[in-house]
Amino acid sequence: MSGPTESNGGARPASSPEEGAEWLRGKGKDADVVLSSRVRLARNLAGRPFMPRASRDEREEILDSCRSVILQSGLAQRMMWMALHLASKEERTLLVERHLISQQHARGRLSDGTGGLKEPRAVAASVPDERLSIMVNEEDHLRIQVIRAGLAFEEAYQAIDAVDDALEQRLDFAFSPRFGYLTACPTNVGTGARLSAMLHLPALKMTGELEKVKRAAQDMSLAVRGFYGEGSEAAGDFYQLSNQTTLGKSEHVLMHELEREILPQVIRYERSARAKLLDKRKNALEDQVHRAIGLLTHARLMSTEEAMHLLSQVRLGIVCEILKGTDLAAVSRLMLLIQPGHLQQVIGQSLTQEQRRTARATLVRSRLKTSSRKGAG
């Protein structure tokens, strides 16, 4: 079966919360440090007002014209379309946790305070791989996103470039020779491209060298953000590194700089910090990793923050070969399943915060025990 799939009213981004989500695979080049490479393009339709000045009718018209083009351009074998103004809070939360939509898009509110939950907006995503997603009527009419596991910007860019070309055959994008692709916020104007790597940097954090890396990144006009992007905190030593400027540098130059120069350096730093820890503080590191697995496999109550922190330690233990029978993909999957929306989806009912802490601890306990038994066997 292939072709466009319409969702709404109980439909899920993937057939089960355990599937999909490319960045969870724990595979790809340099996957010990780089969880995923993501490219995002901001595009607006020519001749239409940008979102802050678009009336409800205009927003609906934009949504309709984008919907038919997105679903009929053969962008992926199967595309899911979900109208977010009709979606439930639970569905929107799942999409945010899977990095398919931004928190801002879930709320429907723009950074200038306009908009709201009922504003016509949607997300389209390729299923079940979730490698491509397109937010419609976020801050810009279109925010196209392609994600790949590991360090793979060139592959991700090629894929998104093809999607952009396909859409452009049927949509006229607002463009100026001087300013490039025109966006609602001038900080995105030019290529409209944001390249962002999700990094796991626990060793740099422990050795206190992370601040140096952050400063160096800022000097190269790169932004360092948390696990869920703009305005979010770093959870479990996961950071997003992305370009801050979009004007004056071509997509190819930017991509090559990140993929061939900057990220290999960050990867080297993190690996050398890991080696240093293994060399000088092996006992302490082993203790920390085993304490983490001990808590995860025995605790009865657990918050999202604590679980993320401990899973980060376990991930470090796996890539440093301290923990042998635990699977990296299983740990990555847990990072998603412990998020409030996914947890309730797995349990199959809505839970209070207190109930979630219990459910989370139970889920983590059973999953990690199964995963390490499988790994050992």
Partner: protein, 191 residues
């Protein structure tokens, strides 16, 4: 800032200093017109100041800041943009071009010109003007340069990958020449 007389946004600001005491007026366009404050639409600055000075007692100082420019297409004022950080439509970029230029340069590390992908339709428009001649240079020199370089780099990578080294060498030379032209724009015509 709201108008002193109504809830509209104040776009005309008049500061008069009489005998060392400063009086400020912040008005919307309509109220300003009703109060007889002349807004600088048409006419020279001298004329404007001449009109304003009429009937004022000697020793009066006047300072007028121009009304915030407005996008003719969506009606967004520049001051509203300064407040929200978001533009209203594609035409805002041309309506506020002079003011956005320096802002963009600051936000994008001094860059003022797009380099990179161009929608194919815009590219086609430059090649196929209705008269059949080459169309207006909507891409600008820097952009065309970047486009050519990008294309050459892609071809070069393909040639290397296909082990066509002779072709790759030619492409490399072409690319080098393009880079030199970029560094010294006069070089091509001088040679």
């Amino acid at each position: 800032m709201n108008c002193d007389r109504c809830d509209n946004e104040a776009t005309v600001h008049e500061i008069t200093v009489v005998g060392g005491v400063q009086h400020e007026k912040h008005l919307c366009e309509q109220c300003a017109a009703e109060e007889g404050v002349v807004i600088g639409a048409g006419g020279s600055v001298t004329e404007l100041l001449g009109k304003l000075a009429e009937g004022l007692p000697p020793g009066t100082a006047i300072e007028i800041t121009h009304a915030s420019p407005k996008c003719p297409s969506c009606g967004l004022t520049f001051s509203k943009f300064r407040h929200s950080g978001l533009l209203g439509c594609a035409s805002c970029y041309s309506a506020f071009e002079d003011r956005l230029g320096p802002l963009l340069e600051r936000a994008h590390e001094g860059a003022a010109q797009h380099v990179g992908k161009v929608p194919k339709r815009a590219l086609a428009a430059t090649r196929l003007s209705p008269t059949g001649e080459s169309g207006p240079d909507i891409l600008g020199d820097a952009e065309q340069h970047a486009q050519r370089a990008q294309l050459l780099r892609k071809k070069l990578e393909e040639a290397v990958a296909a082990e066509q080294y002779e072709r790759a060498a030619k492409l490399r030379d072409e690319l080098n020449q393009l880079e030199t032209e970029k560094l010294s724009p006069g070089a091509e015509s001088a040679s």
